[in-house]
Symmetry: C2
């Protein structure tokens, strides 16, 4: 395999930006009047709509491991995680602002692959790169993506509208991304333990669906719009930290409590098999795994039948109740566990 | 002096974010309906206005040298450079989105100082932090700020409206920030050469105005609004790369040429004295120095008298002409130099 490695210094900052702009210019959005090339981008809001804005930073060796995250996957995931936040507001994405810090051990070809994938993923949803900042970095790759979108005021879904009696729903299935991560970690460990041989072949057979979910998650942009077209969503969040933490975000913002039923929490068979291979509990993947980028939302009970017609798998998994913010998970065997603190990954915490 | 150093790991990500939120919540903007605490911020645009968005990344040891940039200065400058981009569109800032990557050698106290200063500087202009992302960093401090603003369509100033016959104007004076940088570099060199003694006292006497301009530049947010209230600005940019490069940006975007007169280019006496101490040309500081964050704009000749009444120093420094994009600087001694390529700092370029 012949992989070209052109040093970024040989094209310079302006040369690299030109390549980025040419990739970005394949997409357009009629609301974005001025993209890259001025002091700021200019967007014409649809009259009456609200603007939404979200931002995410990805730092090499903190948020991603370049030994199993290709530039193509990284570009797509950087877009997807932000698109998912826009989807969680019931909004339509408009424009992206991409800041990059790039170390000299990264080639022009690698950055083109990243940017091609990023702009493609955004473009699929009508979202265009309208600005950014490109810089050198002392270590690895730094990516910050800010996304803007817009939503009709009556369709806006926040974390704070959950009401006692609501049905808690989730799209897709949970824990699959974590299963993919476990497989990637296992194969990397084998590779490192074998002394990193050039002919090492990771064993990914049969794990396609969990690997894909981890490496290139699908943001639920269209499904979110389809849901809010049919019914009034009381509260919504995307599952990025794990079911318990994200449910708890809704509970704390809304001042309510949630009771979830283990038997209704959707877990894919491959996720289940993967967890069992590691002697881990499949439910723990769903409850604490994170990065599934599914939608978790609450609606009035009599609205649920209106969602039957929607493509995409929507499952009722519990109830909102009055009371102190907490999440209770009822287990199949009749026991229950209750969480009132976040259980997800925290930066800066002391590790054992 | 008793400086506290609390490790960020002792308060954790959520503890740090709580401190940030409490500093941010001192300010509000009635257009920002939802700030930190949901998947995205929610902004209600003023009907009929356009939205503008800009973003900037600052990476330690690439964009700033922590040996002479305090956290207080850094916070203010991170705000100011983005506010200046909003000002360059004639827009009013609304909301900021702040992503941080923080290495473990940075204390809670340092980050609080940074965030206090950042939010204060934004708050002065009615701009509120409405979102962000806080993460660990493998090296130093990484800061990405995205700023949104809004502007009436008829007052929007871009880089592309310069017209032959326009007068080229600049606010304040140029090259002062670069003079400040040279003094800081000189004192740092002395300190390093002296073996970094604990009792080293840098000699900053008499250089206050140039140091201040470099460390805490003043974004021309209000002046920009005052200008566009009185006259129609044909084109505008903020001077961040140096006069030649920024004038060339306007020329390339507008398809015109510019002729600037050395004798009208405003250079402060301390800037002049500093350059002479280094045996450097004061004009070079103004032409290539950068980071002055003054406004460079072009207007119809008969509009210029309408600006007399404005507080703040506005100077006509040249003319827009028809022709290929280039910038000509007429020297006092009758010669002229012409630039059709950018001469400012580029990331990733080979250094001699």
């Amino acid at each position: 395999m012949d992989i070209k490695f052109t040093q970024i210094s040989s094209v310079g900052e302006f040369g690299l930006i030109e390549k980025f702009n040419s990739l970005a210019s394949r997409f357009a959005n009629s609301k974005v009047l001025q993209t890259i090339g001025d002091d700021a981008a200019v967007i014409k809001p649809t009259p009456g709509n609200l603007s939404v804005v979200t931002t995410d930073i990805l730092i090499q060796n903190v948020h991603f491991d370049s030994s199993y995250t290709s530039m193509r996957h990284l570009g797509q995931k950087a877009a997807a995680s932000n698109l998912s936040d826009i989807a969680a507001m019931s909004a339509v994405p408009t424009a992206a602002f991409v800041s990059l810090g790039i170390h000299s051990n990264i080639s022009v070809e690698m950055m083109e692959e990243f940017y091609d994938s990023l702009t493609n993923e955004l473009g699929r949803f009508g979202c265009v790169v309208a600005g950014g900042d490109t810089s050198a970095s002392p270590v690895g790759l730094i990516v910050n993506v800010t996304l803007t979108g817009e939503v009709e005021p009556e369709r806006l879904a926040t974390r704070s509208g959950a009401t006692p009696g609501d049905v808690v729903c989730v799209t897709g299935d949970l824990g699959r991304s974590h299963a993919g991560l476990r497989i990637l970690q296992r194969e990397k460990k084998k590779y490192v333990e074998a002394g990193q041989p050039a002919d090492f072949t990771p064993n990914f057979e049969g794990y396609d669906s969990v690997l894909q979910k981890h490496l290139i998650p699908e943001p639920r942009v269209e499904l979110s719009r389809n849901i809010s077209e049919k019914i009034h969503v009381h509260s919504m969040i995307d599952v990025s930290d794990g079911l318990i933490s994200d449910m708890l975000h809704i509970c704390k913002s809304s001042g309510v409590s949630a009771v979830l039923d283990e038997e209704f929490i959707p877990i894919d068979p491959i996720t289940r098999r993967t967890a069992e291979e590691f002697n881990e509990e499949p439910l723990a993947y769903a409850l604490r795994g994170g990065e599934d980028y599914e939608l978790l939302f609450t609606i009035a009970e009599n609205d649920f039948p209106k969602l039957y017609s929607l493509e995409g798998y929507i499952r009722p998994i519990g109830r909102i109740e009055a009371g102190e913010p907490k999440v209770t998970v009822k287990r199949k065997e009749g026991t229950a566990e209750t969480h009132s603190d976040f259980v997800s990954y925290q930066h800066f915490s002391r590790r054992k």
